[in-house]
């Protein structure tokens, strides 16, 4: 096995893993703060993919030619609208059920997920949709012979860089701002935080909005890179991202990103050097192994009994 193939698989895995990581952040934040899984999160990502195409088409109609500007505008618009969806999910499926049975919000989230999926299917059609590629080209690295090279497309560079920047921004928000401090306080002890004057409802809504925003970033990047999507993409992406969140330690932000990258790399290397048929089997076996030896995931803190 030659070096360029190894490096190429590392690139493939890193790109895939960055996307997993971005979506995983949404799962891990919601779990961290209310101890529940947001089953509608994959659909939020799917909606972001559709919004990307709609906004991009709109900008093209308005006559915008410059790709970097278009990408920035689409990113901003998609994050805003998708965040609105995230906020609505919390408002409709979680807040009214906050003090009821622990399982009730999970079921209502699954309901929201089905509603969103079918809403998109009915309004946008069931066919695979696509956008023309606006970010072409790439770079050849280590091109020693015509066949041995590592190919990195511009879209792939955009994915990794944007994912990194988004994660740093999010980290800064949680660690340095007043709202971030409130988030951490609610994560540690919701009752105590509310006794001390933190508006917990607002904090929880903020977390859903942030998670949806990160999923929107993933949706834009994936649509720009792969070019096609349908109403069902949220399901596969959601499962993979959830796996990444658990692998990295659910509740931990750096864990989600690490989990995503580890999962992406594991899939790529297994697919590339062993067998593509069984790459998912391998990914989930890896998850089982990690959980056996480290039940709270790679970077998770051991569970403290919640009040």
């Amino acid at each position: 096995m030659t070096g360029h193939i190894l490096a190429q698989q590392a690139v493939n895995g890193l790109v895939l893993g960055s996307v997993y990581g971005l979506i995983a952040v949404g799962y891990t934040m919601v779990y961290g703060i209310i101890g529940m899984i947001n089953f509608a999160h994959g659909e939020i990502y799917m909606i972001a993919a559709y919004l990307t195409a709609i906004f991009l088409a709109g900008l093209t109609l308005l006559g915008l030619q410059s790709p970097p500007l278009a990408i920035l505008l689409v990113l901003a618009a998609t994050i805003t609208f998708t965040a609105l969806y995230g906020w609505s999910v919390e408002r409709i499926a979680y807040r009214p059920l906050r003090h009821s049975n622990r399982l009730a919000p999970l079921i209502s989230a699954i309901g929201i997920s089905l509603i969103l999926q079918n809403y998109v299917r009915l309004s946008q059609g069931a066919r695979t949709q696509g956008i023309p590629s606006i970010l072409d080209g790439g770079v050849h690295l280590f091109a020693s012979t015509p066949d041995a090279f590592v190919r990195i497309t511009h879209a792939q560079i955009l994915i990794v860089v944007t994912a990194l920047i988004s994660m740093l921004l999010l980290h800064f928000f949680i660690a340095r701002t007043a709202m971030g401090r409130a988030c951490r306080a609610v994560q540690q002890d919701r009752v105590m935080a509310s006794l001390l004057g933190v508006n917990t409802d607002r904090v929880i809504a903020t977390v859903f909005v942030l998670g949806a925003g990160m999923a929107a970033v993933a949706g834009v990047l994936v649509t720009l890179n792969y070019g096609s999507f349908d109403f069902f993409i949220g399901f596969v992406a959601g499962i993979k991202a959830f796996t990444a969140a658990v692998l990295g330690g659910i509740g931990s932000l750096p864990g989600a990103m690490l989990g995503g990258v580890v999962l992406g790399l594991a899939e790529s290397f297994f697919s590339g050097f062993v067998n593509t048929d069984y790459k998912d089997v391998f990914a989930f076996s890896l998850l089982v192994l990690v959980l056996i030896f480290k039940p709270s995931g790679l970077l998770g803190v051991p569970e403290v009994e919640k009040v």
């Binding site: 096995m1 030659t2 193939i5 190429q8 698989q9 493939n12 895995g13 790109v15 895939l16 299917r121 059609g125 069931a126 066919r127 695979t128 949709q129 696509g130 956008i131 023309p132 590629s133 790439g138 050849h140 066949d147 090279f149 190919r151 497309t153 994936v222 792969y226 070019g227 096609s228 999507f229 349908d230 069902f232 993409i233 399901f235 596969v236 899939e267 790529s268 290397f269 697919s271 590339g272 050097f273 067998n275 593509t276 048929d277 790459k279 998912d280």
Partner: protein
Amino acid sequence: MKKWLGCACALLALAFAAQLEAGTIKIGVAGPLSGPQAAFGEQFWRGAEQATREINAAGGIHGDTLELVKGDDACEPKQAVAVANRLVDHEHVVAVLGHFCSSSTIPAFEVYAEAGILSITPASTNPMVTERGLPTAMRTCGRDDQQGVVGAEFTVKHLKAQRVAVLHDKDTYGQGLADAMKTHLATLGRKEVLYEGLTRGEKDFNALVTKLRSVQADAVYFGGLHSEAGPLVRQMREQGMTAPLISGDGIMSETFLTSAGGPKYVEGVFMTFGADPRKIPTGKAVVEKFRQAGYEPEGYTLYSYATMQSIAAALKATKSTDGVQLANWLKANPVETVMGTKRWNAKGDLQTSDYVMYRWTKEGKYAEVADKP
């Protein structure tokens, strides 16, 4: 005694049904009317609808009019069986046109065979559809083993490929096609350099593409559908692979262009499909009618049309609704269809297959490959 009672009950039910449905004959149209493969379901429906309209306008079946009933299986085997049962038990259809995905057709056809209902698929090419001895199972398309022969001959003799990689989507149709390809490559003295399956519904096949590069494939065969073939070919090109992609009838849709992200990615992709039915002289008038209504009868539209004509011909000739009798008549008699004269063998397969190789052009259209190997 018990048998006699059962017979009487069946007769009674039949009489009752006949009374209830006087004047109309119900035909089921089953396929992926929703879901990622809905483009093909629409082709089925358009073809069947147009054919029915014209058969009814020409007097129907001895005065009775045909009525179509939709059955949406979304290309999921479980849903296909449920749809088949609904068509049989609740809608009381006398024949079914469908299904699309082989993985749906195979289990659904058992339901129809049990109920004694004629079932003809315009599109499912997996050999198992007609290989299981079901007396009512038929098709108006070719078989994957025939498709594999054309694919393998073309890849070896025309493309002169030495290192062929064979991929599939782990589905009945896709893997069946890939297996047929593999078998016929072997008879031509080529052993594939890679044989692997990807996962339906995923979009990132970069790791697999890198693997194709590492085994130095100079041609890639993919058994599967356009929703995966599109991203696959795009990522091959993005990683700088120039090896041609060859596939089967599962990518026969404009949606392939959409899912690949534009003409520059699909250019040079090859696929096997029946000789373009739109070019058969007997179908000219029908094609014109479709175009006047603002619909291009691509892919399986005319196959569906021809299937409906065959069902109507059998109903007319036998004056019966018994599935076995209808199927036996079709197997013994040629039918004039929009796609020319169709003849079936005893298994329910067409006697002649007309697979040819198509190539996607840089305009994002497809055209028959002119020079035969």
